[in-house]
Symmetry: C2
Subunit: 393 residues, 2 copies
């Protein structure tokens, strides 16, 4: 059998349901479970790529938003640069979402039909139309290593009927995404093509399981998605306002039924404890804006829980954000200085808090992987979770 696949995924150790593996992409090898920093518009806000590549963070894959990049700078610009990797100078892996979630988030500003979604651009107010075919075309131009199907996300509180309708639309869109994607790969429309590590050089395509909080619909959606067949499988539509127990109910229902030998990606999740709990249930990949967005609003994630740098209690505190953290921010700067920067509205506050937060998330995932490989994941999970309450915030 000499068929080449766009990615290779190998599970190398398990501890209970938790899996430690290696995902090989045309832009590098990624150890899983992995957290993907969010780089919405072709930049992880506030960080230079050198920081993402540094030993502190060493992010192997970041997420780009198709919706944002499509509207600005637009596909012509990125194509002209030779794809998103070259445009941004990031030579490691990119996963791009499909734009479905962003368009869905526009709420009243969008109109959904069988064909796709019509909406007004938040950039210039122009009327735009996004569909499975357009999303695949945009993602091929971006040349991301992992492409997501164009889906519709039902609200967390959606009724069974509403969710079912939405889920079936997602299934039809997934099929159309698959067809358009395959066609684009055949046409070599993908700007990121690069044969490496015995891969096909093509992009990988992930399907998305929807169904809101309805476990029966989630099962149907999983079947529909697996029937089409993808390189990896994501769980979408969680962490969108539902109760945390609903999220874990869905994960527990669905993850054990997902294909064992493909990567499992929980979209848009979550806090450090969410990541660890989802890993314990067999999830391999995550992305979330929390470390970056909250960094910009003054919230640090630490091994002892969250810390709000705005608090007056840090005014003269010479300790680092996290005494257990060895990142360049914690090695160098005090809470007092960071609080001053934040209070003075200095950009450096966002830069340093974002850096630390990502260091914490990525280091946590390193710990998760090591503990799965050494069979100590339950201990890691218990101790990590126990420490988190320590700050009492």
């Amino acid at each position: 059998m000499n068929q080449l696949f766009p990615i290779k995924f190998e599970i190398q150790a398990t501890d209970g349901e938790a899996r430690a593996g290696v995902l090989t992409t045309r832009h590098g090898v990624i150890e899983t479970p992995v957290f993907m920093p969010v780089g919405t518009a072709g930049t992880v806000k506030g960080l230079r790529f050198e920081a993402l590549e540094s030993e502190d963070l060493d992010a192997k894959i970041i997420l780009g938003n198709t919706y944002h990049l499509w509207l600005r700078p637009g596909i012509d610009v990125i194509k002209s640069a030779g794809g998103l990797h070259r445009f941004t100078s990031w030579d490691r892996a990119f996963l791009t979402d499909s734009g479905g979630f962003q368009v869905w988030s526009l709420g009243a500003l969008r109109k959904i039909s069988e064909e796709g979604t019509e909406f007004r651009s938040h950039v210039d107010g122009s009327l735009r139309f996004l569909s499975p075919e357009v999303s695949m075309e945009v993602q091929a131009a971006l040349g991301s290593d992992i492409v997501m199907v164009f889906d519709e996300c039902a609200p967390g509180e959606a009724s069974h009927e509403e969710t079912e309708r939405s889920m079936n639309l997602t299934a039809r869109w997934a099929k159309r995404s698959r067809i358009a994607f395959d066609q684009l790969q055949t046409e070599r429309a993908d700007t990121g093509r690069r044969e490496s590590e015995g891969l096909s050089g093509a992009q990988a395509l992930f399907g998305i399981v929807q169904g809101a909080g309805h476990r029966d619909l989630r099962r149907v959606s999983l079947e529909q998605t697996v029937d089409i067949g993808f390189d990896g499988y994501a769980i979408g539509g969680l962490s969108v306002g539902e109760e945390k127990s609903v999220m874990f109910d869905v994960i527990e229902e669905i993850v054990p039924k997902m294909p064992k030998h493909a990567p499992r990606y929980l979209m848009g999740v979550g806090t450090p404890e969410d990541l660890i709990e989802a890993v314990a249930r067999g999830v391999d990949m995550f992305d979330c804006v929390l470390p970056t967005r909250n960094g910009r609003t003054g919230q640090a994630f630490t091994s002892r829980g969250k810390l709000n740098i705005k608090n007056a209690q840090w005014t003269n505190d010479s300790r680092p954000l996290d005494e257990s953290c060895r990142c360049s921010v914690c090695r160098r700067h005090s809470r007092a200085y960071l609080r001053h920067l934040y209070t003075a509205g200095e950009m450096l506050a966002s830069i340093l808090l974002t850096h630390h937060n990502l260091a914490f998330f990525l280091d946590t995932m390193r710990g998760v992987r090591q503990s799965i490989r050494s069979g100590d994941f339950p201990t890691f999970r218990r101790e990590f979770t126990g420490r988190l309450g320590a700050n009492g915030e």
Copy 2:
């Protein structure tokens, strides 16, 4: 003679009026002519200290603003941290201004008397009072390596009479600054004390020559300042709205009369061509917000002149900001990408443009120093200035 001085300054080469020297401070050795990046509130906006220390920039001294740091985070916080170096983690040299210029910039919001200046804080609206004695006390708490006397700055268009009154007030304030400073050094109120390189460990104090565009008053002010006696001499009150010819008239009148063996500091100046023209007239030190402030508003300084990254002409331009620049931004990022970041309002635009601009200013000064040492400064000056027009902006 075993008296130790707070700084040592040695001129090692001259080329015409231009001087290349070494300024030794308790926080490191600084080659002159030197450009000091502005770090208003204890941060050079948008840059991590690691970047300032990196080979790209290798800034040896930065400027802190007494006014800003006094109002926020306040002196108690900085004293509690052990001074500005420790508070910020910057272990190289700091020069602090006196607050006089910032208070003067408040315009109608301040009231000047013989005793000092009363004004309302821009942070919390509280009524504050700044005087030579307060400024010296604040700068001792900051522990900067070079302290500036508290002066009054006459407007560029001030009449002879008005300028003379202001200049005489500055002279009286300089005397009071000297007395208060000496007393604080005796009391070891200075948080930055550190004996090194055969220095006294104390702060250095620079006097400031005022007199607006009136050459006769500038001469008087210089005499008044030298009579008091300082470790270095600055020219203040330029680049505040006057014609550029007025600035160079004053420089040409005053610099040759300044003490030869002390550093000469031209405050708040200027563009790259201003720096080179002032070096050619014998100036050793500069500070200016241009590379940092303009970086945040999308303007790059390059060897071929200014470049406005907002311009649509860069939309698909794969070239770096400056093809002659070897900084990490120019080695990695295209104008197209930088324009996208700026247009999308991404923080990374400010970070990267500020980094490049400072790299360009600091690299220009390296070139200046080398050319003075090799006797090629006139050639350097001519070629540098010739290239600057190339972008035609």
